[in-house]
Amino acid sequence: MPGQQQDPPAPDSDLVEDPIYLHTRREAKIILSMWLIAMIYTCTYCYLFGYSTHPSDPAATGPAVSSLVGPLESFDRQPDSITTPLGLGIPDWVFYGVALPWLVCILVSIVFCLTIFKEDDLESVQQVINTTPEGASHG
C-alpha cells in the first residue's frame, strides 16, 4: 500500500499489528503480482502472435490494429499459417496465449490456496456495535 514508510506511527508502541491484517496484506501483494505476470504474458503473446493487420477500410476510424502502436506488418499472419496444437482446433496464439496460461493460473490458484493462504481465525473476531467507535473494544 502507498507510502508505508509514511504510515502514521503506531498509536501505542506496545500494541502488536493484527496478524490477519499482515497476512492478508502479504497475500494481496502476491496475488496482484500474479495478476500482473498473467496480464503481461497473455497480452504480449497474443498481441505479437494473434493480431494481424487487416485490409484498411476507408470508412473505419483509427488505425487497423491499435491506436498506440499501429499496424504490425512484421508480425502479420496469413490464414494458412494457422496451426492448431494437439488437434484441439484452438488457434495456436489462443492456445499458447490464453488456454495454456489459463490452465496454469488454475493450478497456481490451487497451489496458492493450499500453501500460501493462511487459514486465519475469523469466527472469533468480536462483533462490535459501532455507534461510538471511540469507546468500543476491539477484537
Binding site: 502507498p2 503506531a10 500494541l15 493484527d18 496480464m39 485490409p55 490494429v65 494457422i82 493462504f117 476491539h138
Partner: protein, 642 residues
Amino acid sequence: MAETSSITMWVFLIYIVGVFALAGFSHKLLSKKSFLSEYFLGSRGLGTWALAFTFAATSASGGSFGGYPSLIYSYGWVLALWIGSYMIVPLCTMGVMGKRLNQVARKSGAITIPDVLRDRFDSPVLGLVASGTMVFFTISFLVAQFKLGAIIIEDTFNLQSAYAYQISLLIFAVVVVFYTSYGGFRAVVWTDVMQGIVMGAGVLVLIPIVLNKTGGLEKATKTLAQQPPMAITSVPGPDGAKGTFNDLVFHTTATPAPAGIAYLKPEQPSTPLSIQWQANDEQAFAEITMATDADGQVTTTGNDIKQAVQAHSELSSVLKIEFPYKNDKTIKVDDAEVSQGATGVIWFPKDKTEYRFSMIHGHELIFGPGRTNKGRPFHTLGMMLSFFVMWAITGMAQPSTMVRLIAFKDSRTLKRAIITVSIYFGMIYLPLIAIVMAARSVLPVLTPEDSDRAIVLIATRLVSDMSIPYQVLGAIFIAAPFAAVMSTVDSMLLLISSSAVRDVYQRTINPDVTQRRVKIISYTTTAVTGILITVIALYPPDFLQKLIVFSSAGLAASFLFPTLLGIFWKGTTRQGALAAMLGGFFTIVTLFAPTLFGNPRIDLLGLHPSLMGLIASATLGITVSKLTGPPDQTLVRKYFYK
C-alpha cells in the same frame, strides 16, 4: 421463438417452482435468527459451495449467456483474449480483499458495504454518499436486467399478444421480487447455487453434442479461416425500430469483389436506385444509392437492393445475397410459411446520409483484433489491457461481490471457494468459445442485433432431433441465461433495500427502531424497489438505458480504492476515502457523458474509462489522505492492531 418445445416450458416452470421452494425454506430460517443480519447477510454463515456459486452466479450476469456468445459469434477467437483475465479473476476478486474485508466487517458489525466504509472511517457522510452512489448505478443496471429477463420469457413461451413484453415483465418481476423479498439473502444464495449448477451443467452437456454434430472444432476453425468475405448489414427501421426486415447478407463468390457495401441517401428527391462500383480498385465499396420519392423519402427496400445487385452486370457474378436470421418476412398461405423477403425500407435518420458495411474475411474471426460490420477494429491493444484490468481489478469492487465477501463463514470456506470458482470459470468461459465457434456452421447468419440469440439457437437446433433426456438438457441450457439474469437481479435488489433500510433508515434516521419494525420495512422496501423498477422497465427512459453501459465501471471506480485503501493502508483518512469515491464517480460520469448525447465515450490514450476512473480515485485517495492526515488513531488502533 418457434424452436421452443413444450419440454423447455416444463423445465422453465419446474425451475421457477424450485426457486419458490427455496425462498420458503429460507423464510423459515429468518424467524430463528437475528433478522437484519440474516435477511441481508445470511448471518455470515456461507459455506464453500454457497460462497463459490453465489459468487460465480452473481458475477456472471445475463451477459455471460447472451452478450458473450453473441460477441464470440460476431468476432471469433479474439474473445478468448477479451475474457482472458478470467483465468485469474477468482483469485483476484476473492483473494485480495476477501479475508480482510470479512474481518473488518466483523469488527465493526457491518452488514453492508456502505456500512463497512461508514464504520471504518466513522463517517456517516461517507456511508450516505456510498449508499447514494450504489443506488444510482445499480438501479439503471437493474432496469436493463429486468428487461432482459422479460425478453427471455417472451421468447421462451413464444408469447404472441400485443402486450407480450408487458406480460413477460410482470411474470419476471413477480417471481424475482417475491422470492427475493420473502426469502432474503439466503434465498438469493440458494437460488444462486441452483443457477450456478444449471449454467455449468448447460455448458458441459453442450460441448460433446456440439462437437459431435458439427464435425469438431478443428474442422470448424480450418473452414472458417478460408471462408470468403461477407458483409452483414444492420440498418434500423423507421424511428430506430429493430426487426423491420430490411437487412441483407452479401457473400463474396468470386474476385475481384467490393471491399464493402455502402448505402447512400441522395440529396435530390425522385432519384432512381443506382449502383456504382470500380472493379479494378481493391478498396472500393459497392455504393448503392437509394431511390427516393417526390418528398425525398427513401423508398428502397432490402428486396429492391437484392434485385438491383442481381441485375448488375459485374456485381451479379461476384456477390450472392441472402436474408439473415428472422430478416425475411414470412406469411402463411394454406398453412405453409411463404417468404416475402426483406420487405423493410432502408431507413435513414435525419442527419445520416450513408451506411457503410465492410466485408469481413473468415480469417478475421481467427485472429485479433476482430472487426465490426462497420469496419472498426473490435479489441484493440488499449482495450486488451483495459479488459485485463477491468475484469480482475474492477471486479473486486462490485458491491454485489463485496457483500458476499463479508458473508462467508471462515477462512477455509474462502480458500475452498477460490479453488472451486477458478475451476468453474475455466470450465465455462473457454468451452463457450469452442461451442459457438464449432456451431457457427449450423447457425443461420445473425445480424449484430440478433446475435445474442446464438447460444439459444445452438441449444435448440442441435438437440431438437435427439431423445427426450437430451431435450431436457437443452431446455436447461435455455434456462441458463434466465438463471444468470435472476441471480444478478436478486443480489442487486437486496443491495438497494439493504442500503435504504440499514444505512439510511436504521443508522441515520431512526437508530432505535424495533426489530419488528425493521422486519416490516425490509420486506416492504425490497418489494417496493422491485415494483418501482418494474414500472420503469415498462417504458425505460432513454437516458437510463444509456447509464447501464457505465454502471459497473462507475461502481468499481467509486468503491475500489475507498475500500482497498481503507482496509490495507493505515494512513487513509475519511476525507481521503470520500475524495477517492467522488473522484472515481465523477471521472466515470465525465468520460461517459458524451454517450448520453449519442456520441462515443471518451477513451483517453485508447484506454477504457474505468481505468482512468481508478487512476483518479487512487490518486485523490492517497493525496487527500496525506494532506488531511494523520488519521483518527482510535480507528487505526481498532482496525490494524490486535
